[in-house]
């Protein structure tokens, strides 16, 4: 994958429009003596990875020390406060952008506190399951597998460097493989160029947010992931498989991995709520009506619509339609669930409740995936421009602007980013690089 991984967050490269390598010319952090990744065998005693019993079969190597450790403690490894306090691999692996290791502890501590607060009630304290990385927050070091930064990509055709000056293309590692990857993806509609060399990943087992101003191609991204749109150039991979190159039959088979909540729910107008939610089960499974009924009622009750089962879509409010769409998206227990602006048209309270519901169901699906040792952990992707939702829900944030990722990384890194565009957007301020133009 041709994403640009910037392991450390150094102040020197913030808002660096020229794209100079932030690691170059800087001294490595004290706890990161070398620029080469330390092999696992060189990890100090006691830094051995914890048992990754929750990892899918064959994926135990996801977060080995010196391989792809989480940049900040357990937040990334155990979304929403699941992180425990167990020992973690740290220190010996290199830190790219070494200043980060000294500048970061305070921010990390704050981020950790926020994360723990966010995860209160849902924290499992499951040290053995959360695996690696928790301890790195103690040292404050951010560990990267990247020892060499790629050159800054050229701006897309028709754009100048100035237009993309705030795009640092920095991607803080998530410590997880990407369930979905965009590779140099271009997409135009007529003269409107929407995706302009997009490189983006949605890490597996996390709730990822794709944030960005209106009209930057967030919904277009979702349609590329599920194969409703094809890129003009580039590729989109889902669990390593190229979506644009799939035959129709394979594509329809692959789509069974997805649950997608559309902006307005996209319920079938000719069916009542119950039949809408039952539709995927009736089409794709051999389950009997009794079993289907159990599943449907469980899902409808989860979203608080058990009593509205016989209502037609036009009898439901916008919020109810969204919740019903959510229930329908989940009935096939998909590996990847996507939400296209779940907060649009909802009042703040219901937006918050929907966010909590997303987190709760993701947590349940994670538990179930661990229990059943599924090959892939559930990946949630939320497309929105609602900052409050991002703060509440996101484990990982991609900020998209002008068809490219400005920066991406675990929520804490992004919320603490020094990039003026990111800061402006996440703070919702009127002053900054983003204007009405």
């Amino acid at each position: 994958m041709r994403r640009f991984n910037f392991g450390g967050k150094s102040e020197g490269d913030e808002g660096n429009p020229e794209g100079s390598n932030p690691a170059e010319g800087e001294s490595p952090a004290p706890d990161a003596p070398g620029s080469e990744p330390a092999p696992a065998s060189e990890a100090p005693a006691g830094d051995e990875p914890k048992s990754d019993s929750w990892l899918p079969a064959g994926r135990e190597d996801w977060e080995q020390p010196g391989d792809e450790p989480a940049p900040i403690g357990g937040e990334h490894d155990s979304p929403r406060g699941e992180q425990g306090g167990g020992a973690a691999p740290e220190s010996e692996a290199p830190v790219a952008g070494g200043q980060a290791s000294q500048a970061q502890p305070a921010a990390d501590a704050q981020a950790t506190a926020e994360t723990q607060a966010r995860g209160a009630g849902g924290a499992e304290g499951n040290d053995s399951e959360t695996g690696t990385g928790s301890g790195s927050q103690e040292s404050g070091s951010r560990v990267s597998v990247v020892d060499e930064q790629p050159p800054r990509p050229a701006p897309p055709d028709g754009a100048d460097e100035e237009e993309y000056r705030w795009h640092t293309y920095r991607v803080y590692p998530s410590g997880r493989p990407d369930a979905v990857e965009f590779i140099d993806t271009y997409k135009s509609f007529g003269r409107a160029r929407i995706l302009r060399g997009l490189n983006m990943g949605l890490p597996e087992g996390m709730v990822s947010m794709v944030l960005g101003p209106s009209g930057t191609g967030k919904s277009v991204c979702i349609k590329h992931i599920v194969g409703l749109l094809y890129p003009d150039q580039g590729d989109v991979l889902v669990h390593g498989e190229s979506v644009p190159n799939m035959a129709d039959d394979d594509l329809f088979e692959m789509r069974k991995k997805f649950g997608l909540l559309f902006q307005d729910g996209a319920l079938f107008g000719s069916m009542n709520l119950y039949d809408n939610v039952a539709f995927p089960l009736r089409q794709h499974t051999e389950k009997g009506e009794d079993e289907i009924d159990d599943i449907i009622m469980r899902r409808l009750n989860e979203v608080g619509l058990g009593s509205a089962r016989d209502k037609m879509p036009n009898e439901l409010s916008g919020g109810m339609r969204k919740r019903a769409g959510f229930a329908r998206a989940l009935v096939l227990e998909p590996d990847i669930v996507m939400f296209d602006e779940p907060d649009s048209g909802l009042d703040p309270v219901r937006t918050a409740l929907l966010g909590e519901l997303i987190l709760e169901i993701h947590r349940d699906m994670m538990d179930e995936a661990k229990e059943k040792e599924k090959e892939h952990l559930p990946t949630f992707a939320v497309v929105t421009h609602d900052i409050m939702s991002a703060r509440r829900v996101a484990d990982y944030i991609n900020v998209l602007w002008k068809g490219r990722i400005v920066e991406a990384g675990p929520a804490e890194d992004m919320l603490n980013s020094e990039n003026p565009f990111i800061r402006q957007f996440l703070a919702g301020e009127s002053q900054g690089p983003l204007t009405m133009d």
Partner: protein
């Protein structure tokens, strides 16, 4: 100069896209993939029967009345009132019943398909279907085509009966220039089972084109409610033109070289 050719070029492109799209739908039926959703095809058949048959039969009945009136007075004016059955047989079976059937199919079924699929398209329902791993083209379009093929031959044959009955009422019961026996003697002399088959082929060709055109414009609708309205209007124009083209080609093909009439040797 480029502007001169821009519009025709656009039409050719649209026509090519339409052919490609409709071929795919027909392919889904012939490859029997549509039978995966046979329940939906039966549901669509039921909708066709319940919502469209009466209005088609009603229209064709009225056309049969008109054929009877015109035929009876024309033959009376030419001194052969007993031959009013010729006009009824040919007018009903060969021309106006297929046209009437085609008009009502275009107005009721074709526009209904465009409006329904177009609404589903703009409200993301088709995308939702596709994301569930279900081919919208098969589930929405091929099932409708199969339903039309299952139901409409019977609907059409009954339509012909309605047209004949209306002509009989006018010629024999209302105007009364010919007896019932005399009417039917001529009436049956001037038609035979192949004529019925040819008429059925004309009508089913019209029905197939109308369903496919409806699916094309509905499935590919864009631009919100206005776009759906525009697509509906366009489909109606294409369908009416197609109905007449099929009518003309069918008449030329089946009866153009040989009138299949027991006169003139």
């Amino acid at each position: 100069m480029n502007d001169v050719f821009a519009a025709p070029k656009g039409w050719v492109e649209s026509f090519g896209e339409m052919i490609k799209f409709t071929s795919k739908i027909v392919g889904e039926v012939f490859r029997l993939r549509v039978f995966k959703f046979f329940g939906e095809a039966l549901r669509q058949s039921g909708i066709l029967i319940i919502s469209s048959t009466l209005v088609i039969w009603g229209l064709v009945f009225i056309i049969g009345l008109e054929c009877g009136v015109e035929g009876a007075y024309f033959d009376r004016a030419n001194g052969v009132p007993a031959y009013a059955g010729v006009f009824s047989a040919w007018c009903d079976l060969r021309e106006l019943v297929p046209y009437g059937f085609g008009y009502m199919m275009a107005a009721k079924v074709g526009t209904g398909i465009v409006a329904e699929l177009g609404s589903m398209r703009i409200s993301d329902e088709i995308d939702a279907l596709e994301v569930m791993g279900i081919s919208g083209m098969t589930f929405l379009c091929a099932t409708r085509l199969l339903a039309a093929w299952l139901v409409l031959p019977f609907v059409y044959i009954i339509s012909i009966g309605a047209g004949f009955f209306a002509s009989y009422l006018v010629v024999v019961q209302q105007i009364g220039d010919v007896t019932s026996g005399g009417f039917f003697l001529i009436f049956w002399q001037f038609q035979n089972p192949p004529d019925l088959l040819f008429s059925l082929i004309k009508a089913m060709s019209m029905a197939t084109v109308i369903v496919l055109v409806g699916c094309y414009y509905g499935y590919n609708a864009s631009g919100g409610p206005v776009g759906v309205g525009t697509a509906t209007a366009k489909s109606m124009v294409v369908n009416i033109v197609s109905v007449h083209l099929i009518g003309m080609l069918g008449t030329q093909l089946f009866w153009g070289a040989n009138p299949r009439a027991p006169i003139g040797g």
